[in-house]
């Protein structure tokens, strides 16, 4: 792997930061001053010594050769990951060619870690090739026990939903959030995290403003549909049964054949709760035309390891997860370093976008949205409500932007980029509206991230 292939722009480096304060701290260290002995190896490693408050400088090293994303090591006591020193080192390397010279060999302290890492990666590969050595009998028994617990959870949830409908949804407004929290906790016990998340979502609806009863009925009905899908899974087609398993939050490892393509990174964004950071990366295959989602997780306070800069294109293999209408995939082998994508993904109209959502619901009725690139749309303000639409430049149709997007400052980045002219916009399109994630101004292949 060559240097040129892995070198990133300052923006891409900042995207690796686990939070805003790390971004800030890292950007301050992205200058030559505090660094000494900085260097970079041909295989995609960067190292350096950063002067901190103590007498001994911190030893920082980053390995960029791993296809799963950069790995970091720093002798500082920070529990942030990557720490500000790793970010600063990458920024220095990104910004100033002379500051981090290429070098034949790394200093011992860096080399040890790099060699150890690469050794372990090899071992993993061979193990994976040899197949899992675990006892298949015990594994089956574990799976059966789990299925029984999920069944018990789904049955209980059905009872709760029936009680709610018997008393009327109006009572849900009075019952408040506690009722749902308790039910959600029971779904966690039943090892059905997908059900738990949906139940928690139900609890927030009565406080979500005008039209909440219709939204609550919809979500209750779809939750009921999911319970019934699980309870009757033996009568479902295999693909739909797999979708039900996924929606319940049961593990469904990728088993699709690897598809090699030039995968363009369309968007990357994180959502976090108290325990977990979830990173979503949308990819579009230039040859296959498929749009796929990579998920990556990090424990609280740590950024997920996988990080792919928006606007790059990967020559790599992707394997789909099972399930009807499934877009989730797992990244397999990467055949070449990432390179800037030369073009924008093809786009469509607002009408076609909603139609594709409708079609996708046939395969997976629980889908909230589908990934869509809209071609030639203009952000248009709604005078009275403060909301915005994306209107087709060549037709009198428009999609509303989702309320969560309107509440964020990136709305203005989108509006400013457009300046009242047509844009191409990638995002998630569903029953709540359209959430823009990346935009391209007319006549340029350079993406502007909106997430």
């Amino acid at each position: 792997m060559t240097q040129q292939g892995v070198r990133r722009t300052a923006e891409q480096v900042l995207d690796l930061a686990p939070d805003a304060s790390s971004r800030k701290a890292g950007s301050k260290l992205g200058v030559a001053g505090p660094w000494s002995g900085a260097g970079s190896g041909r295989e995609g490693a960067v190292w350096g010594l950063c002067k901190g408050s103590g007498s001994k400088p911190y030893q920082t090293v980053v390995d960029l050769s791993d296809p799963a994303g950069p790995a970091y090591k720093c002798s500082c006591p920070s529990r942030k990951f990557p720490c500000k020193h790793a970010l600063g080192l990458l920024l220095l390397w990104a910004g100033d060619e002379g500051a981090v010279p290429e070098s034949e060999s790394a200093p011992d302290w860096a080399e040890q870690w790099l060699a150890g890492r690469r050794g372990r990666a090899e071992v993993k590969k061979t193990q994976a090739a040899a197949g899992s050595a675990a006892d298949p009998d015990a594994a089956r028994k574990r799976a059966e026990r789990r299925d029984q617990r999920v069944t018990a959870g789904a049955t209980e949830l059905e009872r709760r939903l029936a009680d709610l409908l018997r008393d009327g949804l109006a009572s849900a407004e009075r019952a408040g959030y506690g009722l749902w929290e308790e039910t959600a906790a029971r779904m966690v016990d039943a090892q059905a995290p997908g059900l738990a998340a949906r139940v928690r979502e139900l609890g927030t609806i009565p406080a979500s403003g005008t039209g909440w009863p219709a939204r609550l009925l919809e979500e209750c009905a779809l939750l009921h549909l999911l319970d019934q899908g699980w309870l009757h899974r033996d009568r479902l087609p295999d693909a739909l049964a797999a979708t039900v398993r996924t929606r319940l939050g049961l593990p469904t490892p990728a088993d699709g054949p690897p598809v090699r393509d030039h995968w363009q990174v369309l968007a990357q964004y994180d959502t976090a709760d108290a325990k977990l950071t979830t990173r979503r990366i949308w990819l579009h295959g230039a040859d296959s035309g498929r749009t796929r989602l990579l998920l990556s997780f990090g424990a609280a306070g740590r950024a997920p390891e996988l990080s792919l800069p928006v606007g790059m294109s990967l020559d790599a293999e992707l394997s789909d997860h099972p399930g009807a209408g499934q877009v989730r995939a797992t990244l397999g082998e990467r055949h070449a370093p990432a390179a800037p994508a030369a073009s924008r993904p093809p786009g469509t109209t607002t009408t076609r976008a909603l139609a594709s959502y409708g079609e996708a619901l046939r395969e997976d009725p629980w889908l909230d949205s589908v990934p869509v690139t809209l071609d030639a749309v203009i952000p248009v303000p709604e005078d009275t409500s403060g909301s915005w639409h994306l209107a087709d430049a060549d037709a009198h149709t428009a999609l509303p932007l989702t309320p969560s997007f309107l509440a964020r400052p990136v709305l203005w980045r989108l509006v400013a980029l457009a300046g009242g002219a047509p844009l191409r916009v990638f995002g998630e399109c569903g029953h709540r509206g359209f959430t823009p994630l990346t935009a391209w101004a007319e006549g340029t292949a350079a993406p502007v991230s909106l997430c």
Partner: protein, 536 residues
């Protein structure tokens, strides 16, 4: 199967509860299921159908497109730098700054440099620029110039940025054309105070006489405070043509207006007022030939007559000052400096300043000459009064205070100013230099920069702490020429602790110099990235 219930039917039943309201389906369709389950079944079908059947809505009226950008795009490296500068918001962190540079301090310089090259801001960064300009008024003019027409376009859509429309180009866009005589007169008669000031200022810049004539028309009806502000706008482009109007204003009802008129007249060396003041001042100051060497003898005025008061002399002194010296100071300050060589034996300003002054009048007289030199922007007198920068009295309590010297420096050309301050620092160190450095132009000239760095090094050698010089350090980070960075190399290492030094001072100094060097390198990189064809 009977007709399926509508969504509204389902919703009504769901809200009230199946115990209170029968589900609107044929009992045969229940097929043994409980009513709630049947309701959820039907609602699931309806919900998916509702979602699958979604269609786009009608598009509302589109905003007028933003004006096309004609300026060249920012080089990519410079765009990345701007992202970093805007990501570093003040307020966070706090405490000791260590050796890392303060990026927010570099944003003004970055903006000024980008504007010099005439680059266009990347459109998607305009919101961040507007936010920065909203938070820091000092950034506004440069940030708005850089953000360009798109910023104004955006500001119309977001009330948070309304300031951009107000501050844009001083509001001159709303002013009538130069030829629109009627429009000008209407705005002058009916406009708000701020609009009238803006109009007068703009008109004064275009045609000084037109502004004065406009003002004269309504002068008698204006309120005293307004008259004062309007009169002040004549300061720009003041010429002898304005003298009659100002002379008339010496009889104004308002004392402040009279004083301002007198001040303006005294900056016109050929004015009648200047001549009157020269005559009065000359009677108070004379050469004394009685001693062995020449000296100046001062005879302060015995009274403040109505003529002096009409010419702007304030009769009542502030508390703690004698009347006669108070009057003398005002007379000398308003008299043209050309008066003195003729009056004092054909001497040059230097020779005059060097003359001894009898009876302790020197402080009073020299201070008044300083004010006159500043007011009349007279470089020769400013130079004479500043004296040699290395002279002992320049750093101490001489006849001319440091504040006066800072003002006198402003009357000199930039290079001469920098050279004088460099000489001052070399002779007196940094402790008194902050005020003087503040009036020097950017970036500092090489001799001035060298003098500052050398003085910092001497302060370090002396064993003090760097935060005693944090003001000068901060200035140096912004003002030192990045070409001087190499001179700092020898100062970056942590020296061995000396016994007589303050504990830990060496480490702190090294850190402070590292930050200075880092900041300078960063500034050099910024400039390189912004230079067409020079970016990495």
């Amino acid at each position: 199967m009977t007709t399926a219930p509508t969504w509204d039917d389902l919703l009504t039943t769901a809200l009230l509860g199946t115990d209170r309201r029968t589900l609107p389906v044929d009992p045969a369709d229940l097929a043994g299921r409980e009513a709630p389950a049947a309701l959820l079944d039907a609602a699931a079908v309806a919900a998916v159908r509702r979602r699958a059947g979604l269609r786009p809505g009608p598009a509302g009226p589109r905003p007028e497109p933003a004006p096309a950008e004609t300026r060249p795009a920012l080089p990519p490296a410079a765009a990345h730098r701007l992202t970093l500068l805007l990501a570093d918001r003040p307020g966070g962190g706090g405490g000791r700054r260590g050796s890392t540079p303060d990026l927010t301090e570099l944003l003004p310089q970055w903006l000024a440099s980008a504007n010099t090259h005439g680059y266009a801001a990347p459109p998607h960064m305009v919101p961040a620029l507007l936010d920065a300009a909203r938070a820091r008024t000092d950034l506004r003019p440069a940030a708005l110039e850089f953000a360009g027409a798109r910023a104004l376009w955006l500001a119309r859509l977001n009330p948070d940025w309304r300031f951009a429309q107000r501050s844009a180009s001083g509001g001159t866009s709303a002013l009538p054309d130069a030829e629109d005589d009627e429009g000008i007169r209407r705005l002058w008669r009916e406009g708000l105070f701020a609009e009238r000031v803006a109009l007068l200022t703009a008109l004064r810049a275009r045609t000084p006489s037109a502004a004065r004539e406009l003002l004269a028309e309504t002068w008698a009806q204006e309120r005293a405070e307004d008259r004062l502000m309007f009169l002040d706008s004549l300061r720009a482009g003041l010429t002898a043509d304005d003298e009659p109007f100002l002379e008339q204003s010496l009889g104004d009802r308002s004392r402040n207006v009279r004083a301002t008129a007198a001040e303006l007249l005294s900056t016109l060396p050929g004015s009648a007022l200047a001549a009157r003041m020269a005559r009065r001042a000359a009677t108070c100051v004379a050469l004394d030939h009685t001693g062995s060497a020449a000296a100046i003898v001062v005879e302060a005025p015995a009274a403040c007559d109505p003529g002096m008061e009409r010419d702007g002399v304030t009769a009542r002194p502030p508390a703690g000052r004698g009347e006669r010296s108070w009057w003398l100071g005002q007379l000398v300050e308003a008299a043209p400096l050309d008066t003195w060589p003729d009056r004092l034996g054909g001497r040059t300003p230097e020779q005059i300043v060097a003359l001894p002054v009898t009876d302790d009048w020197q402080g009073e007289l020299h201070a008044a000459w300083c004010r006159a030199a500043v007011r009349q922007r007279d470089a020769r007198w400013a130079r004479a009064l500043l004296g040699a920068p290395s002279a002992p009295e320049a750093g101490g309590p001489g006849a001319v205070s440091l504040a006066d010297r800072a003002k006198l420096l402003a009357a000199l050309e930039a290079d001469e100013r920098a050279a004088w301050v460099a000489g001052f620092i070399a002779g007196h160190g940094l402790s008194e230099a902050f005020q003087l450095l503040g009036v020097c132009a950017l970036p500092w000239t090489a001799p001035l920069g060298r003098a500052v760095v050398d003085a910092l090094d001497i302060a370090r050698e002396a064993g003090s702490y760097p935060w005693s010089f944090s003001g000068v350090m901060g200035l140096a980070e912004r003002c030192l020429d990045p070409a001087e960075t190499a001179r700092l190399d020898s100062l970056l290492a942590v020296p061995d602790e000396r016994e007589d030094a303050s504990p830990g001072a060496g480490g702190y100094w090294a850190e402070a110099f590292q930050r200075l060097a880092t900041t300078l390198r960063l500034r050099a990189a910024m400039v390189r990235e912004l230079t067409p064809g020079g970016g990495a």
